[in-house]
Symmetry: D3
Amino acid sequence: MAQPPSQYTGFLYFVVRSPAPFVAHVQINRPQKLNAFHEAMWLELRDVFRRLSTDPDVRVVVLTGAGDRAFSAGLDIQAASQNPVLQGGGGGNDTDIDAARKAASTRRHISEFQECIGSIEKCEKPVICVLHGISYGLAIDISCCADIRICTRDTRFAVKEVDIGLAADIGTLNRLPKVVGNFSWVKDVCLSARDFGADEALAVGFVSQVHESKPGAVEAAVQVAKFIAAKSPVAVQGTKEILNYSRDHSVEDSMSSQT
Amino acid sequence: MAQPPSQYTGFLYFVVRSPAPFVAHVQINRPQKLNAFHEAMWLELRDVFRRLSTDPDVRVVVLTGAGDRAFSAGLDIQAASQNPVLQGGGGGNDTDIDAARKAASTRRHISEFQECIGSIEKCEKPVICVLHGISYGLAIDISCCADIRICTRDTRFAVKEVDIGLAADIGTLNRLPKVVGNFSWVKDVCLSARDFGADEALAVGFVSQVHESKPGAVEAAVQVAKFIAAKSPVAVQGTKEILNYSRDHSVEDSMSSQT
Amino acid sequence: MAQPPSQYTGFLYFVVRSPAPFVAHVQINRPQKLNAFHEAMWLELRDVFRRLSTDPDVRVVVLTGAGDRAFSAGLDIQAASQNPVLQGGGGGNDTDIDAARKAASTRRHISEFQECIGSIEKCEKPVICVLHGISYGLAIDISCCADIRICTRDTRFAVKEVDIGLAADIGTLNRLPKVVGNFSWVKDVCLSARDFGADEALAVGFVSQVHESKPGAVEAAVQVAKFIAAKSPVAVQGTKEILNYSRDHSVEDSMSSQT
Amino acid sequence: MAQPPSQYTGFLYFVVRSPAPFVAHVQINRPQKLNAFHEAMWLELRDVFRRLSTDPDVRVVVLTGAGDRAFSAGLDIQAASQNPVLQGGGGGNDTDIDAARKAASTRRHISEFQECIGSIEKCEKPVICVLHGISYGLAIDISCCADIRICTRDTRFAVKEVDIGLAADIGTLNRLPKVVGNFSWVKDVCLSARDFGADEALAVGFVSQVHESKPGAVEAAVQVAKFIAAKSPVAVQGTKEILNYSRDHSVEDSMSSQT
Amino acid sequence: MAQPPSQYTGFLYFVVRSPAPFVAHVQINRPQKLNAFHEAMWLELRDVFRRLSTDPDVRVVVLTGAGDRAFSAGLDIQAASQNPVLQGGGGGNDTDIDAARKAASTRRHISEFQECIGSIEKCEKPVICVLHGISYGLAIDISCCADIRICTRDTRFAVKEVDIGLAADIGTLNRLPKVVGNFSWVKDVCLSARDFGADEALAVGFVSQVHESKPGAVEAAVQVAKFIAAKSPVAVQGTKEILNYSRDHSVEDSMSSQT
Amino acid sequence: MAQPPSQYTGFLYFVVRSPAPFVAHVQINRPQKLNAFHEAMWLELRDVFRRLSTDPDVRVVVLTGAGDRAFSAGLDIQAASQNPVLQGGGGGNDTDIDAARKAASTRRHISEFQECIGSIEKCEKPVICVLHGISYGLAIDISCCADIRICTRDTRFAVKEVDIGLAADIGTLNRLPKVVGNFSWVKDVCLSARDFGADEALAVGFVSQVHESKPGAVEAAVQVAKFIAAKSPVAVQGTKEILNYSRDHSVEDSMSSQT
């Protein structure tokens, strides 16, 4: 793969390469911790995608996780446990703090967390997400913000909200019912936090393709990316925007918003 | 199965048992009439689910129909024929009654009917519905309000609105397009009132599992229920609520409602 | 097939027959041009469906394309190239025209184009669309407005927005996310404009049935139409309306709109 | 005043003149019946406003009622009494007709009635309505669709829904809460059907100006019309459209619909 | 005034009389505490309005507060201080309780509080509220749910959310921007919690009438009530429902909900 | 007035002082050009309000314009004329540029412009805007984003969209119908771009107070600010957020978003 463009070099947790003209490949790069996320990472994720969104040399983005074992194990519980605002309840000495002020601070913090992950959806360029191995919790939040999902045969997915008990959802519970048209299945996996595999993800439409190996899946994603990158970028970006708008509006409103 | 808790003993048409800790099993209990519903039944259904909603000893509910032949044959036509407000048109001597007043009464009646069935959706605890045999009309309205749908191989489903010609829908036409992401199929079964079976229901995602026998299906439902009951009840109930809210709101509105 | 009823005889590009009582069969009739559309055709399409909508002798409509090769190749590019308002950008001598006035004219024109195609959705009677052969671009816009989609084994579908680069979408991008509950797939085909075939269309739920031959598919559509035509037309038309309303509104709003 | 342009000459109940360049003056012309409306009139009203909407020689419309006594006395009760679909309840021999079919017919009829009156709102050009004398019922529906309301000192207004008991509202109950930001007053006049005068209408903001005489009020309306007609018609028409869109959408949705 | 009808006799905090045929007069009856509310009172309020809603002998309701000094001083702070769920933050020993469980309990409690006050809005009959003297906090929540507001010259209003700091609003902040069309004023009084008087309330449209004395104001309310009670109750109740629906929906949605 | 806090010193076009504890006073500071805006200014405005939003030493903001003659004359036409993306139509040699690409660039630009002005509304602290002298175009966009509006006797307001003919509105047309509940007046001033004065602004509720002099108006604003600053900042900021949310959502949605 090509070397990273200079404007994407300063990042600690993400590597950005260009495997083909107009295609950027973003890799979550904390494999020794199964690409689990802490706050500095999601702030950096937002920076990466904001730059990609307006970079004239990028038309399509492929998003993967480094290493063999995990796209992402989700929230880094150890780090989060040191971050009081991510705890739903509160610490031990509530009496020392104005509880309402703390609640306001938590809201602002959660809101920023949601916004960071949502930067993938807000990115004007299509994002193709390749999942493999452990893909838990935040991995689902992230991939629901991507446009196209591809995975490997060995992927293990799980929606972890009921296990983690975070004060608020980072997006899975809001987006998954609109990503997959099978409400019985959506509720099953969200209410139970059970694992599910690649075949099930393909059958319900959570992913569009399943590949035997991670290199094969990444190669397939890059092929789709190159195919899309050959189209008019204005039309492609307009299409992404209209499709996301249509998801959240009536047919009439989304049609009138274009004319 | 365990004996019914005392607060659920006074019901004529429903039996409530506890097959496992924190799991309630509600059985529609009018098997000699194929569990067809009349007004007293849906009023009682609402009472049952309101109590379950706030009962601290209940975390998950399994809903089934008694007998071998039917989850429910739907509306008890014979009983409904004696209930003039459920007739779309009106009786023979309209001139004797203020038509507008009758229309208002019908509206209030339909609205209460919808609310009774909707108490399953409003119930704060997840509801797993096990369908078998004849599952017509109101059986679909009811199961669309449940969170997870499981059925037996022999289930015969049908959306009966165009056959019954009720003055207003009790919920299927409003919920089914959001339960199953296949609008061509939804319109096919709703416009034709044709039967469909378990395989078709599974293929389009109306149900999540198909089992060979009713006991097997009920056992599977109880297993899912026990699995969910082992999670944090606050997180589980919050998840149900957010998922239902997300179905009806834009991603932005449902995210902001949590922060 | 029966002869066309007299009120449908004056059309240049559509043939309307009655293959069974209360069933109308509308054929797009420009096979020598692969049923590609120009402006006179979509204006005529609106006329046809407006008449069908209120014709008491019609209860269900079947829509097909004439000839062996295509349901429709989409927009007639040659004709559109002579129609400046369908061009996103503008002609060569912009300085001669008030650009804002031209934009307003384009908006009105696109809005009328959308409305013409939308007359299929607005038609009070269910519309069953049978696709075959080339079914590109406008073919998808049109079939998304139909209620039930059936196709032949040889159908080649493609969403052509990113290839055509029309100033605004005629409805596919707004309706497809609500027709098929698989957002990864919807984005894949919309962002890439790639072809897809009958099996894929069936698997994701874009079509409900696949038939080996065009006559077989048309016959199947007529059978469904006859089945529906035997039901209460008031209930059938009310069901179509509620289902479309439900697609665009919350469960609560669509339920209250009926009472 | 100038002679009517030829395309507006065939109307029975409306006179269209051009008191100034780019200004059309539409007069409801059934003064001997206090400009009360029957069905042929509202169908004609729609024709008039559809033509004005696209007429390049018209930029602003002034709407008045002929004669000294009334802008409009509302629905022509005598004519309506011969039109069974406008009756909420139904005629004497309901048993002879399929009640549901009749309900469907009534719905379609009311819907068309609403659409005819709504053609004033849909008209792309601003409409300035001058009310005088009796302005009851339909006069309010009509003027709520206009953009700017002016009246004479002697105007007597009344919202007549609770007196007439029509099967459905023609728009006042839907628009008035968004036209006047005083919900206590809106409910007072709508629930009581009481008369109110020009001063009250001005105080609550239902009208923008009150004039002593009808000629004075018409002259003031024409002055406003001429003032607006001197602005860029594209900007004026865009402004009308955005303001109406904003009324019905969130700030965010209405802002994004413009970009 | 007439004696209370028997079904309204069991209440501790409300007196219901019938000053005229079809008119009910509900009096908040805790004058020694300035009609301040505690939980038992708002539960009782809901019972009263639910009965009035379906009572065929009641067509219009007048709501007042007993005594000379206050319509209501709002929430009974002393009682609320003993009710931990109404405290935004939490008590002293948070570590003893599952904070998330407590949050869920608070939500359910607030939700029930909102629903009790909202029963005035849900009541199918118009409600005319007469405010006098101290009308703080909950007095505004309550009167925003009424349809028509009348007050005495000596009324002192205040929106107390920023003073009380309750965990959630009981409705004023949600309804006031739709009751009064002056957002600068709404924000002024809500952000500052400052007092305002009858003249200011009339000028901005919060009340429709100001009277010199409480008896005069009540008499005026009864006169309006009698006037409305003489109209068709079906039309009056339909009008209330449509107006409230219109407040919360687009013109198009509220029009289509009627047809 | 106090000296500006150090974090607000680097700005070219805005001066930030602290006239009282927890109160910030922001002054638009380009009096020699009547405080007209160019792009660098609105970008700076966003920076100012983003810092104020999270500054723990600020609870309320007062916004004024420097100099005697104008709060703001609006868009700096001279500067805008050199900024091609703010032109609705396009430059002279359209054939040299990809028109669609240019349209996309314009959209992004307008969207950023809207977001900059909207930072006043997004600011978590209440903003009190004091208008004086010339207050045209962008002055209205800006003040509609503020929470409370106060003006001097000599203020001349005008909504300039139809005069400027900008490609898209920066917010006035979207917010004004929700700020002032008098749609006839809103349309009058927006469609005509006519001037209006302080008395008219007060009568329709666009401003809450009118003062004889600018120092008097600023002093009054600071008094209101100090009064609000003495309340619980958490409750005040929550109130601002709920009121803005309520403006754009149904009562039910805004109530449920709080529980």
